[in-house]
C-alpha cells in the first residue's frame, strides 16, 4: 500500500440504522474507508453487508445515521447520485449488454457524440475506451463484443467503466465467484493498479485466502452490527472466523475424541493423466483425511475417479480387503463408497424433485421389491435421517430448489449417507453456505467419523482443513506433495507443499 495516501479518510459512516418491516438489518453501523486501500467487509450471510453496500450505492435509504464523504454529509438519493459522487458498485451479476462492443458498454448512456448530440462518434468512443483500458493494463480490444469476453474480462471492463466515471470508491461484491485462479490473479493485479491510483475499494468475499492476499483493512459485521475493524495483518484465517461467528474456535470445530481404527481403505499409485498421478494413501476407520491443494491440483479429479465417475489410467483401490476401483457410481455405491460433489446443483441434487425423492435416490432399491417402491418405509427412513441432520423444511415433499444452500447441502449429504457408505468423500462440503450451517456440517462430519466411517475431506478452506482433519494429504499439480500428521498440520506447512515448485 502506498502509505502517503494511506491515512486520508474518504468515507466515514457512523450510527447507520436500517430496518425492513420492523426487523433491524443494520444497527449502529460504523465504517471508515481511507483513500487507496482495499477494505474487506466480512460477515456471514445476514450480517448486513449487502444492505450496507446498497445504501452506499444509492439503492436503499438508511433510517438514521450519518455518512460523510470527504468530510461532507452525504446521503445518496439514487444510484445516479452515488455515481456522481464517485461511488461505483460492480454487481455480482454483471449488467453488461452482450451484443454491444466493449466501448459501447463502457460509455453506455454517456456516449461521445457529434453534430449536437444524437450522432454517435464511434471513433472517439473507441479511442477513449482504449485509453481507459490501457490505464488499467487490460488487453481487450474496445471493438470486441461484450459476449465474446470471459466473465473476468467483463468484470475488468466494468472496472474500467467505474474508473471512467471518475469513481473514487469501488464496491466489489464477490468478484471472483465465477473466475478461475488465473483470472482472479489478473483481477487482483487490476485492483492493485486501482489502489495505486488512490481509488478505495470495498471488497466482499467469502474466500479467506483472497481476503488475506488483497485486503489492507478488514471490517467485520455480525447480525447487522459493527464488530471490529483492523489492519489485515492483525488477523489470521481462524481468528477472523471466530470474530465473524462470535464463537471460540473450539466451538466451531469439534474435538476428535474417538480412537483411530484399523485401515479400511487403501489407494495405491492411482493415476489419471493429465489430472493426477501416483497418489497413494491409507484411510483408517474413524479418521478424517483432509485433501488440500490449489485449484487445479487434481483433488476433485481424484475424487471422481474414486467414485467411478471417470476411469483411472492405473492404480489400485482396496476397501476392506476387496478391490474397490469402481467403473461407475453404481459400483461405487454398492461397494460402500459415497461422494458428495463440490457442485450441488450440477451433479449433486435434482433440484426439481422433493427432499424425500432426492435423499432416497441412491438407495431406492433397498426400499423396493420387484421395482415397486414401499413408500411408507422409504418415508420413515428418510425422515429419520432428515431429523438427524436437522434439515429445516416445511415438509419432505418440498422441492429442493426452495431450500437454503446449507439445507441443500445437508440433503446432498443425506442422500449419500442413506446408501450406508463405509467411506465418504466430501468435496468442498461448505462452499457457498453460511457459517452457522458450516459449523453444523463440521460437527456432522466428525460424528460420522466417530461412528466408524472413513472420511475424505477435500477443501480449499484452510481453517476447516486445519480445524477438522486428523491427517492432511497435500496435492500440487497432480502430485502428492505431502501427507501430514496431526502434529504437522499448519497453514504454513500446507501452503509450502501446495505451491508448485
Amino acid at each position: 500500500m502506498d502509505m502517503t495516501q494511506g491515512n486520508q479518510t474518504i468515507l466515514k459512516v457512523t450510527g447507520l440504522k436500517k430496518s425492513f418491516g420492523g426487523i433491524k438489518v443494520l444497527d449502529h453501523i460504523s465504517f471508515e474507508l481511507r483513500k487507496g486501500e482495499v477494505h474487506a467487509l466480512m460477515g456471514e450471510n445476514g450480517a448486513g453487508k449487502s444492505t450496507f453496500m446498497k445504501i452506499l450505492a444509492g439503492l436503499e435509504k438508511p433510517d438514521s445515521g450519518e455518512i460523510y464523504l470527504d468530510g461532507h454529509p452525504f446521503r445518496p438519493a439514487s444510484v445516479l447520485a452515488s455515481l456522481q459522487a464517485g461511488i461505483s458498485m460492480i454487481h455480482q451479476e454483471l449488467l453488461a449488454v452482450p451484443e454491444l462492443t466493449v466501448a459501447q458498454n463502457l460509455f453506455l448512456g454517456k456516449e461521445h457524440t457529434r453534430f449536437g448530440g444524437k450522432w454517435i462518434d464511434s471513433e472517439k468512443n473507441n479511442e477513449e475506451a482504449a485509453r481507459w483500458l490501457e490505464k488499467l493494463g487490460i488487453g481487450i480490444s474496445p471493438a470486441a463484443k461484450m459476449k465474446s469476453l470471459s466473465v473476468a474480462e467483463m468484470q475488468m471492463v466494468e472496472m474500467a467503466k467505474a474508473l471512467s466515471n471518475e469513481a473514487r470508491i469501488i464496491i466489489m461484491d464477490e468478484p471472483t465467484s465465477a473466475l478461475s485462479d488465473r483470472e482472479a490473479e489478473r483481477l487482483f493485479g487490476i485492483i492493485r493498479e486501482l489502489r495505486g491510483k488512490g481509488v478505495a475499494i470495498i471488497y466482499i468475499s467469502h474466500k479467506m485466502d483472497e481476503i488475506f492476499r488483497i485486503a489492507d483493512t478488514i471490517t467485520v459485521f455480525r447480525d447487522g452490527r459493527y464488530i471490529d475493524s483492523r489492519p489485515a495483518e492483525e488477523y489470521d484465517a481462524t481468528s477472523l472466523i471466530s470474530v465473524m461467528v462470535g464463537r471460540k474456535l473450539q466451538d466451531i470445530f469439534p474435538q476428535n475424541t474417538a480412537e483411530k481404527g484399523a485401515i479400511i481403505y487403501s489407494v495405491k499409485n492411482l493415476s489419471r493423466q493429465p489430472a493426477f498421478e501416483n497418489i497413494s494413501f491409507d484411510l483408517h476407520a474413524g479418521e478424517i483425511l483432509g485433501v488440500s491443494g490449489l485449484v487445479g491440483a487434481g483433488r476433485t479429479e481424484m475424487a471422481r475417479v474414486l467414485y467411478g465417475l471417470d476411469p483411472a489410467d492405473s492404480g489400485e483401490v482396496w476397501l476392506h480387503g476387496e478391490s474397490a476401483l469402481p467403473d461407475s457410481p453404481q459400483t461405487a455405491i454398492r461397494k460402500g463408497i459415497g461422494y458428495v460433489s463440490e457442485d450441488r446443483k450440477i451433479i449433486g441434487l435434482i433440484t426439481k424433485l422433493s427432499i424425500l425423492k432426492n435423499i432416497s435416490l441412491s438407495s431406492l432399491h433397498r426400499y423396493s421389491r420387484y421395482g415397486w417402491v414401499n413408500s411408507s418405509e422409504e418415508k420413515l427412513a428418510v425422515s429419520k435421517l432428515a431429523q438427524q441432520l436437522r434439515i429445516k423444511a416445511g415438509s419432505l415433499d418440498q422441492r429442493v430448489e426452495t431450500l437454503s444452500g446449507g439445507n441443500q447441502q445437508k440433503v446432498a449429504i443425506a442422500k449419500v449417507l442413506m446408501a450406508k457408505p463405509k467411506v465418504i468423500i466430501l468435496d468442498e462440503p461448505t462452499r457457498g453456505i453460511d457459517i452457522g450451517a458450516k459449523i453444523e456440517i463440521y460437527h456432522l462430519v466428525r460424528q460420522l467419523a466417530n461412528e466408524g466411517l472413513g472420511v475424505i475431506l477435500i477443501s480449499s478452506e484452510l481453517p476447516e482443513i486445519i480445524g477438522l482433519c486428523d491427517r492432511v494429504m497435500v496435492l500440487s499439480q497432480g502430485r502428492q506433495s505431502a501427507l501430514l500428521n496431526r502434529s504437522q498440520i499448519s497453514q504454513e506447512e500446507i501452503m509450502y507443499h501446495a505451491v508448485p515448485r
Binding site: 426439481k352 425423492k357 417402491v373
Partner: protein
C-alpha cells in the same frame, strides 16, 4: 407448507379446466352431455391417449419422440398383414404390431443412448424410416379383409363399453403405477431433472432412456393395432401428425419439455381436453380448419399458464 398447496392446486388445475370446458360445451350443445357422446369421445381419444402416455415418459426424461405417428402406421400395417381372415390366431397380429412398435422404440433408444445425437433429430429420422417401411410393406395400398377377432379390438364392446376404452383404462392404470409407484418411474424424473446428478446417484441413465423409448414405441404399436382394427383396414398413411397431438396432450397435462415434470393423470386430462374440444366443435359444425387454429391457441395458453405457475 404453502409450496405444497400450490403444487396440489396445480394438479387440480387441469381437472378444473376440463370440467369448465365440459360445462361450457354442454351449454353450447345439448347433445354433448349424453352417455353415447361420452362413449364416442373416450373411444376417439383412446388412440391419442396411448401415444400421449408413451411420450409422457419420454418427455419426463427430457427427451422427445416425433416418430410416434409413423411407428403407429407401420405397426398397424404389420398387424394387418398378420390379421387377414383365416390365417393366424389373434395373438399373432397383436404380438407383431406391438413387437414392431417395441422394435422402433429400441432402435430410437439405442441410437439416442449410444450417440450424442439429440432425440429430436433421431426420432425425426425414425419418423421417415417408419413411414417409408409402412408404405413399402403395404405397397402403398390399404390392407383390408381383416379377421373378425382382430376387428373386435377396436370395434367390439364388453358390457356396453367399447373395447378401446377398456384398453385405455388398463394402460392408464399400468402407466400411472409405473410412473408413480416404481423405481423406474422415480428414475425417469431423476434423469429428466438432472442427468448428471442422476448418474452420480448411481442410476443407470442409459437403461432408463432405453426403457422410456421402448415403452413409447410399444404403446405406439398398441395404438396402431387399435386404430387399424377400428377402421378395419391397415392404412400406410395413418397417424400423420399424431405425434404432435400426443405431445400437446402431455404438455397441456403439465409435462415440461425441459424434463423432470409430468404425470399420467395430467396427460390423461390433457388428451381429454383436446378430445372434448374437438368433439364439441364437431357437434357445432365448426370446420376442421378452424379447429386446428383453436387447438393451437389452447396449447399456447396451457403452456403460458404453466409458466406462470412455475414463477411462483
Amino acid at each position: 407448507m404453502r409450496d405444497f398447496k400450490v403444487a396440489q392446486l396445480g394438479q387440480y388445475g387441469i381437472v378444473i379446466a376440463f370440467v369448465v370446458i365440459c360445462i361450457l360445451m354442454s351449454i353450447l350443445h345439448p347433445s354433448f352431455l349424453t352417455l353415447s357422446n361420452m362413449r364416442v369421445i373416450l373411444t376417439q381419444v383412446s388412440i391419442n391417449t396411448l401415444l400421449a402416455f408413451g411420450v409422457t415418459f419420454v418427455i419426463i426424461t427430457g427427451g422427445i419422440d416425433l416418430s410416434l405417428g409413423s411407428v403407429l402406421a407401420v405397426a398397424g400395417i404389420v398387424a394387418a398383414l398378420m390379421a387377414k381372415s383365416d390365417t393366424y390366431p389373434l395373438i399373432v397380429p397383436l404380438a407383431a404390431g406391438i413387437g414392431t412398435g417395441l422394435f422402433f422404440g429400441v432402435f430410437n433408444g439405442l441410437v439416442i443412448t449410444r450417440s450424442k445425437v439429440p432425440p429430436f433429430i433421431v426420432t425425426l429420422a425414425t419418423m421417415t424410416i417408419a413411414r417409408g417401411l409402412a408404405l413399402i410393406l403395404s405397397k402403398g395400398r390399404p390392407i383390408s379383409n381383416l379377421s373378425d377377432s382382430f376387428n373386435f379390438v377396436g370395434g367390439g364392446q364388453i358390457a356396453g363399453i367399447p373395447f378401446p376404452i377398456i384398453i385405455l383404462l388398463i394402460a392408464f392404470i399400468g402407466c400411472g403405477i409405473l410412473l408413480s409407484k416404481t423405481t423406474w418411474g422415480r428414475y425417469m424424473y431423476a434423469v429428466g431433472g438432472n442427468e448428471l446428478a442422476a448418474r452420480a446417484s448411481g442410476i443407470h441413465v442409459g437403461k432408463i432412456k432405453m426403457l422410456v423409448y421402448t415403452l413409447c414405441g410399444g404403446l405406439a404399436g398398441l395404438a396402431g393395432i387399435v386404430l387399424t382394427s377400428r377402421i378395419t383396414t391397415g392404412q400406410p398413411n395413418a397417424g400423420m401428425g399424431f405425434e404432435l397431438d400426443a405431445i400437446a396432450a402431455a404438455i397441456i397435462g403439465g409435462s415440461s419439455t425441459s424434463g423432470g415434470t409430468g404425470t399420467i393423470v395430467g396427460t390423461l386430462f390433457g388428451a381429454l381436453i383436446i378430445g372434448v374440444i374437438s368433439n364439441g366443435l364437431d357437434l357445432m359444425n365448426v370446420s376442421s380448419y378452424y379447429q386446428l387454429v383453436i387447438k393451437g391457441f389452447i396449447i399456447v395458453g396451457a403452456v403460458i399458464l404453466d409458466s406462470f405457475n412455475k414463477d411462483k
